[in-house]
Amino acid sequence: MKPRRRRRWTRWAKRIASHVVLIIACIFAVFPIYFIVVTSLSTLPIAGITAHVLLPNPSQLTLSSYNTVLLHESPSYLSLLENSLIFSGSAAAIGLLLAAFTGFALSKFNFPGRRTFVYFILLISLFPSVVMIIPFYLMFAKLGLIDSYIGLIIPYSAGAVVFSGILVKNYMDSIPDDIEEAALIDGMSRTEAFFRVMIPLCLPVLGLAAFLAFMGPYTDYAYAHVFLTSSDKWTLALGLYNINSSDTGTQNYGLVTSFAIVMSLPIVAFYMVFQRYIIGGLTLGAVRG
């Protein structure tokens, strides 16, 4: 072969190989999601699920599993959703407030003890959060807070503080000091500058911090399983786990997967819209995405 033709050939081969690799990656990525969607549109028991469900006859697809999950399960989807929103919403609100204050103090003040404090929160954040359940459970059992809303909101809020605080601090570091100084020269106090200048400038990262603080309780099973004993306080995560584990193989598996989809949708939508911020935030600014 002449050199030029050879180069063209290798370029083609490279392009085709790239597409093949990417298509395999996409199939791998989509397969479980496709599986969830297809089975949610059926009413098959898990024992009836074979590779054939992957290519269903469109006329056999049905929304009846969604109907059952949303309207005919006990505890009802609405009650689970309400509890999830109470826990996640409270944790996000409290976590956000604390994160904003912490981030501001760490980023814009050079107070004595600042470095020690940063190392202190780093050390605390290394303690695995799942096993914090043990001391919390024993403490709250003594206080009679097991199986109450407040008894779970407290550990959820505590869990979000450290990471969100560092997130907000990093973002505020990128805001020039001049902006705050200009506000001070205009006669604002530092508190006024914080609320009227810094907070509005930090809205993107505060939104991300709130979302991450929301996500923790929304998908938490480990805490809720231990803390919530009566089913009227159950969250969506407990409801999903319960439907899934009560499935003996003969029940309609579509219930599990349609529950999974309804529960995921708001989160998926949020991730897809704000992925840029979320990726940047999760790498703590190590990457400009």
Binding site: L22, V131, Y271, I279, V287
Partner: protein, 312 residues
């Protein structure tokens, strides 16, 4: 405000004291809801709480480091298995994440038709909450009714008892699931970093006759290195304590061949290991987990300057 660093302590106190007001609520939360529970957990690990059925919520005794001595002598084989499994889980996952993430990112970093579509599709798994998809993955790995085995059967491969037969099968299921959960994130992070590399470097290199591979080695990799190391270390620390994949898929089985510190601890306290909650043993394993993570983090902080910016 870095330029204030030279000032005296008194000057800084006078000018920077409002910071303490802003930190007050957080400090209260950290002390009452983080530091105290951690200290309490360490204390419980030094009691006989739950072991031998003697402990209850009202009566348990301080027994010093007896539990730790037990873990290092009679219980050494379990402790060693937990150490090995935790490191295999975190190390193995991160190596796979980095290889796959780097590979896919460099493929995606070429001018290809449909690149935006590929990128969006690859990101999908990451947008779903892990807890939810993990429950479905558990069913997909099922021996009798799992979709993965039915698909293997279609191409003539007999069913594998993924979760209950051999450690190799169980680890394969765990790693594949964990890759599915995480490769989108790693791919997109590395892709974003690659796209920030100035294009003229590649043009200059290709004029000088450098091929694709040597361009990757001499331009892309050096530019990526800080991100790869930082993301890799964070991924290691995160995966070391990543509870749900193991808890939901294998729950440590078969035997304890995939049990890591955190799942062992949770199961001892609240789980399947029998009716008596072994709070003291559970607390001890979480303290050991914490000590390992602290040591690793100290090494990272001392040996690299990657966290400097973050801790500034």
């Amino acid at each position: 405000m870095a330029d204030l660093r030279d000032q005296t302590l008194g000057f800084r106190l006078r000018h920077e004291w409002p910071a303490y007001l802003y930190l007050l609520p957080t400090v209260a939360v950290l002390l009452v809801l983080n530091a105290y529970p951690i200290a309490y957990c360490i204390y419980i690990s030094m009691t006989d709480f739950g072991t031998g059925g003697r402990g209850s919520l009202l009566s348990y005794h301080y027994i010093g480091i007896t539990n730790y001595q037990f873990a290092l002598t009679t219980g050494a084989s379990t402790s060693l298995a937990l150490v090995e499994n935790s490191f295999l889980w975190a190390g193995g996952s991160v190596v796979l994440f980095l290889l796959i993430g780097l590979g896919l990112a460099s493929v995606l970093n070429q001018p290809l038709r449909g690149r935006a579509i590929y990128r969006t599709v690859i990101l999908l798994p990451w947008a779903f909450p892990a807890f939810i998809t993990l429950l479905v993955w558990t069913n997909m790995w099922g021996y009798e009714y799992g979709i993965i085995n039915s698909m293997l059967n279609l191409v003539g491969i007999p069913s594998v008892n993924w979760l209950l037969s051999t450690p190799t099968a169980a680890w394969s299921a765990l790693f594949i699931t964990n890759i599915w959960l995480s490769f989108p994130f790693y791919t997109v992070v590395f892709l974003a970093t690659m796209q920030a590399i100035p294009k003229d470097l590649y043009e200059a290199a290709s004029i000088d006759g450098a091929g694709t591979f040597s361009q990757f080695r001499r331009i892309t990799l050096p530019y990526l290195a800080p991100t790869v190391i930082f993301v890799g270390l964070m991924g290691f620390l995160f995966t070391f304590n990543n509870f749900y994949p193991i808890y939901l898929i294998t729950n440590g089985g078969p035997g304890i061949s995939t049990q890591i510190f955190i799942t062992e601890s949770y199961n001892d306290a609240f789980g399947a290991h029998g009716a008596t909650p072994l709070f003291s043993t559970a607390a001890m394993y979480s303290v050991l987990d914490f000590l390992i993570i602290v040591c690793l983090t100290l090494v990272v902080i001392w040996r690299t300057d990657l966290t400097r910016n973050w801790l500034k």
